[in-house]
């Protein structure tokens, strides 16, 4: 297991290097002088010279990337142009909000999605199944941010149950979690249902029937465990998409977080902050992928052997 984990980390290393190189290149690909994008208009020549020296812009590009990477890994992400604070500080202040939101949304989608999928499979081809699947089709196709705006209109404005925006009280997290979670619920419910219906057709189920077990007992004691592996697979694959959802939804609910910070900084062209946020979100996706892979390998020994 440890060996498998190490190998997975090693296969992700080139992805991290390539991703960080793209993020590094952003300031060089934007038309114009990279230094101009890191300075406020009317900055002093001394500040300019300081930045040229700091980023070593007279040296070849690969060397600049390496210098930048070393700084980044040691926690130095540069200085925000508009907010005039170290980018690392801004990210540290916003990260906990994003982690909490993403974690809760993931938990919500897993619990509700797996339950809904299991019920739909148990009552396959009944009115309940069809209603659940129709809701799921709707939930997985409407734009996430629009769902968030509707939630605000209905539950915050009309009913007044939750705050409209921000993150000042605990209940402000409910609507954002529901909004991100619904897409996840749709996905996980669909996978759970398919896995259970698939497992239902296997020989050991016929045997259990012959032994006299009830449909409910077969589902609860034998099939649910069987359906776990595909659900964990899809969770691992889609953790990044939950993060992507968080980026959008934070902005809709005006919550602090990496997504809000990224989108406002993009509009203001505050490149050091943009780079820092993109890098952190990219690393988040990679960590999510890794955790998903490890969970899958922990559940299924065959997988460890195949890749080890």
């Amino acid at each position: 297991m440890l060996l498998y984990g190490l190998k997975r980390v090693l296969t992700l290393a080139p992805v991290f290097l390539a991703m960080s190189a793209v993020v590094f290149l952003i300031v060089h690909l934007v038309p114009g002088d990279p230094i101009d994008h890191m300075l406020q208009i009317g900055a002093s020549p001394e500040r300019r010279a300081e930045l040229v020296a700091r980023y070593g812009l007279d040296r070849p590009l690969p060397l600049q990337y390496l210098t930048w990477l070393v700084r980044v890994v040691s926690g130095d992400l540069g200085e925000a142009i508009i907010l005039k604070r170290p980018v690392a500080q801004l990210i540290a202040a916003n990260l906990p909000y994003s982690v909490a939101l993403g974690g809760l949304a993931l938990l919500f989608s897993t619990v509700v999605g797996a339950t809904l999928g299991a019920l739909a499979a148990y009552f396959a081809d009944t009115a309940f199944d069809r209603a659940a699947m129709a809701t799921i089709l709707f939930g997985s196709t409407v734009p996430n941010f629009w769902l968030g705006l509707l939630m605000i209109l209905i539950f915050a404005v009309q009913l007044g149950w939750f705050p409209v925006s921000g993150a000042r009280s605990w209940d402000a997290v409910v609507l954002p979690v529901l909004t991100i979670g619904l897409g996840g619920v749709a996905l996980i419910a669909r996978v759970t249902r398919a896995a259970l219906i698939d497992a239902w057709r296997q020989d050991f189920v016929t045997l259990l029937h012959a032994k006299g077990l009830s449909r409910r007992a077969i589902f609860a004691r034998h099939l649910l465990r069987h359906a776990l592996a595909p659900v964990v697979t899809i969770l691992g694959l889609k953790i990044g998409w939950v993060l992507g959802g968080a980026v959008t939804i934070e902005y809709v609910f005006a919550r602090p977080g990496l997504g809000s910070l990224l989108i406002t900084s993009l509009a203001q062209r505050d490149y050091p902050v943009v780079q820092g946020c993109l890098l952190m979100l990219g690393v988040g996706v990679l960590i999510g992928t890794l955790l998903g892979d490890l969970a899958q390998a922990a559940l299924d020994p065959r997988l460890r052997e195949r890749l080890a």
């Binding site: 209109l153 998409w241 993060l243 993109l278």
Partner: protein, 281 residues
């Protein structure tokens, strides 16, 4: 029955039928917007700002008194136009990259697919935001973002099709007859791989509409006063408590369109009997 074109057979199913009718009507409305919209999309009338739906303004007016129904019709031109054209570019590039990788194999395959898999590892919205960071906000960047964001899906699909086909006897026969690799690949293999990739592209057009709307809502896509469905909500959000229809109706247009694309696409997959070929490996 089998003589009927699959596109029509899909439109004859209970779910694919209404979806096809809606999509045809939407495309017609988008093309004819200048002639059928009751008002110009940028005609401001502050005396009639933020009015609820009425007989004069079927879907109400926005914060500048612009007719929402007209703006949604014009918005369809931009939202559909950007999503469909960038999706076609994405399908075309993905098809060629995947086909070359799948046919060539070896280091070319590994190199091309490493690049493709890099974008595959990250959510489309993050890739789109990187593109916006480089190119700046606007419709052009949105188009590039969609093209690159969905490329991996088509490259992987087309590579899988080509890799499955290249061992076929007729391919060997064509090579033995002295045909060039380019001829074998583009005259014989790609046409056979085309259908699943095109259908995947059609389904992804729904996602592209949502991505365009999301960027528009962030204020990073279509810029005012151009009405894209997402950008309309971006400017309407400040007024959402007095004029919620400005938020609700463009969203309904997006939701209906995406659901229709999915339902028709699903019917088309059944009509073409290619459900298995849409899996990659």
């Amino acid at each position: 029955m089998s003589r009927v074109h699959p596109l029509l057979r899909a439109a004859a199913t209970p779910l694919g039928g209404p979806a096809a009718v809606y999509l045809v009507a939407l495309i017609a409305a988008a093309l004819l917007a200048p002639w059928i919209a009751p008002y110009p999309y940028d005609a401001q009338n502050l005396a009639e700002a933020a009015l609820p739906p009425s007989t004069a303004h079927w879907l109400g007016t926005d914060e500048f008194g612009r007719d929402l129904f007209s703006r949604i019709l014009y918005g369809a031109r931009i939202s559909l136009g950007v999503a469909v054209s960038s999706m076609m570019a994405s399908v075309a590039i993905g098809l060629v990259v995947g086909a070359v990788a799948g046919y060539a194999g070896g280091w070319l395959d590994r190199g091309l697919m490493a690049g493709v898999d890099l974008t595959w590892s990250f959510p489309e919205i993050l890739i789109a935001l990187v593109m916006i960071a480089i190119l700046g906000p606007g419709l052009g960047s949105t188009a590039v973002a969609i093209t690159i964001g969905y490329l991996a899906q088509f490259a992987r699909l087309s590579r899988a099709q080509i890799a499955a086909l290249k061992g076929e006897l007729y391919v060997e026969a064509t090579v033995a007859l002295g045909a060039s690799h380019a001829h074998v690949l583009f005259a014989h293999l790609v046409p056979n791989a085309l259908t699943p990739v095109l259908v995947a592209g059609m389904l992804a057009a729904g996602d592209a509409i949502v991505l365009e709307a999301t960027l528009g809502y962030f204020g990073l896509g279509a810029q005012p006063p151009l009405p894209s469905w997402g950008a309309m909500m971006s400017s309407g959000v400040a007024q959402m408590f007095i004029a919620p229809w400005v938020i609700v109706f463009p969203g309904v247009a997006i939701a209906l369109t995406v659901v229709a694309i999915n339902l028709y696409g699903d019917a088309l997959i059944d009509a073409l009997q290619i459900r298995n070929r849409l899996r990659e490996r």
